[in-house]
Symmetry: C2
Subunit: 361 residues, 2 copies
């Protein structure tokens, strides 16, 4: 019997996402998955311990307390907030709810959803998962998103702001152009890295019924290990996401994740301190490596996207790995001579600078 008969035909569409490597063999300086180098707020410990006695009970399916904490942090009310198991799950629900087979697509020629050609590489994976037609729009030669290039019929738009892996950020006036052109479609702004210097679109949420913002606590609040992501948008968008969740998994956010997330979000002082440190380290690192012939995109993220004037990226990546440093290299058109380097501690980055200085000057 041919075992392939067991899987449904839709499985042939899938090209799974490949996350950055998580080596088990030795200790590396891990600058390949954009984790925060600092531990989460110490306040999470008591929050976690206080949930231990409740673990035999299901969590609140609607994560109300967590949505309250996020809402308060974002200056909106809880019905503007949806929570999920990391922003990856939230993004998947966004694709299901809003993109690809919209009502207007009953026209003979379906309109594709749009995202940049160089961007978070999970987007085409989600599109394939739900059989959503998409079209990628090229970044310009400076890796910038050009809003005018998105002025075409679509079933929706998504992009990270700042973009990944390029680290470049759009401003409100540019995003407004997208929101206004696509006013009958959802424009999803993936703010995974917004804490590190960009301007969040949250303050414009009441102005645009088609604006949906997606965030994660993985990077900004050092909770990559806990899986908490969320979306902020007007209640009609949030209700749609809730309908998707309730048709997939009633309780994607567990009790401890919710409690830890509330504690981390509430400790604003710690958040401000750690993000300021990372921004400061990033600027120092950029200065150091520009001196030795690197070009660096204007970063508003906790990573930088770099290339060297003479030494190829794959060679540099190998040298860094040999020196115990993991970074990410994407073997893809236009960016295969770049490296994405997460910003670690000052000590981490001084060591990276030192290694780069040895091999790339």
């Amino acid at each position: 019997m041919d075992k392939t008969t067991f899987t449904a035909a839709r499985m042939d569409r899938l090209t799974p996402y490949v996350a950055g490597e998580q080596p088990k063999d030795k200790q590396y300086i891990k600058l390949n998955t954009n984790e925060n180098p600092y531990p989460p707020s110490p306040s999470i410990k008591d929050a976690i311990l206080s949930e231990l006695e409740n673990l035999y009970l299901y969590p609140d399916p609607d994560s109300f307390k967590l949505r309250e904490a996020i809402a308060s942090d974002c200056g909106v009310s809880p019905e503007y907030v949806f929570c999920g198991n990391g922003s990856d799950e939230v993004l998947s629900f966004v694709f299901y709810a809003f993109f690809g087979d919209n009502r207007l697509n009953d026209r003979p020629n379906a309109e594709p959803m749009l995202f940049p050609d160089i961007t978070y590489s999970f987007y085409p994976v989600y599109a394939a998962f739900y059989n959503i037609l998409y079209k990628t729009i090229p970044l310009d030669e400076n890796f910038r998103i050009i809003p005018a290039d998105y002025s075409r019929p679509s079933s929706g738009v998504i992009f990270p702001n700042p973009n990944a892996p390029t680290s470049v950020c759009l401003e409100y006036n540019e995003i407004r152009e997208l929101l206004e052109y696509h006013k009958e479609r959802v424009v999803a702004v993936d703010e995974a890295y917004i804490a590190f210097g960009g301007e969040s679109m949250v303050k414009y949420i009441d102005k645009y019924p088609n604006l949906l913002i997606i965030r994660t606590l993985s990077k900004s609040h050092s909770l990559a290990g806990m899986r908490v992501g969320f979306a902020v948008g007007q209640p009609h968008l949030i209700s749609a996401l809730k309908r998707v969740k309730d048709s997939f998994n009633s309780y994607p956010v567990d009790r401890i994740a919710a409690a830890a997330a509330v504690a981390a979000i509430t400790d604003k002082e710690y958040f401000n301190k750690t993000t300021a440190k990372i921004i400061n380290t990033r600027e120092r690192f950029i200065e150091n490596i520009k001196e030795i012939g690197f070009s660096v995109s204007d970063s508003k993220a906790n990573f930088v996207f770099i290339s060297h004037k003479t030494v190829k990226a794959d060679i540099l990546k190998a040298k860094l790995t040999d020196s115990g440093i993991l970074v990410r290299h994407f073997d893809k058109p236009r960016i295969n001579n770049h490296l994405r380097v997460t910003i670690g501690t000052d000590k981490d980055m001084d060591y990276v600078s030192e290694v780069l200085r040895k091999f790339a000057q």
Copy 2:
């Protein structure tokens, strides 16, 4: 502007699952969501604390240590195990990977997937989510699954064993009939409640390439609040589930959930003690309420499915709620005169018996 234009047409298919109520207004004896009345193994506390320092790092995307612990518990090797965010997420991936649009469905008349008419009410929700054709097969008048009734072309079969909300369990010889008839299709056995007296199909896993078992730690290991579920099957089935996960969310099981689950699974003695207590309480409770005119299905679960010879289920439910006891009533054909009552502690169940004795004798 009509706001409904924002959602994709596929959203119209959804009829979200409705979980048992989680009241916030007062303390109830909560026998409505099949939670375990005992706390999880005390060993989870240290396991959780030991993960705190790693929370800034992503979890292992393949949950290897957890899969090892489950594999060892089930007597298989880790490549036979897939883990997800509760068995609800695992079930959703099973529907996506194996049901509904199989290759043989390129025939003019697509074959539906099959499940019982009275069963876990999330199954039709998943089917709608992925646009999967299904057909329900009636239980017999004693709420038993009759394997011969499933002898018809299908794109796969799923059922809980013991079934929910009926609590009735099939035996190996009956399930074998399903596996052999549908040998080119996946037969998924949802063993959410198998710890409470049924015989697991895990020992037959090498015999049937189409057998997939789904379990959860929510009930058996008192971890409903932590969201850990898993599937056991031959590696070709597990790889398919991994492809689905990696196209949806790289890290659905967080660090603390994985650590707590490993500790709970490893504490076999505690597991044996608590499940034995629940089984014992269940048998006492059944005996007590049979005396006062209840008929009770033969339960192999941590709940019982009951009806009274004269007093209607909705009236009894209201009386129980007034007395501070929550149970589940499904307002559906064939079972709207039944109540599903989770087995709590002896003290809980003595109180339930006492209340029932007052209103139903």
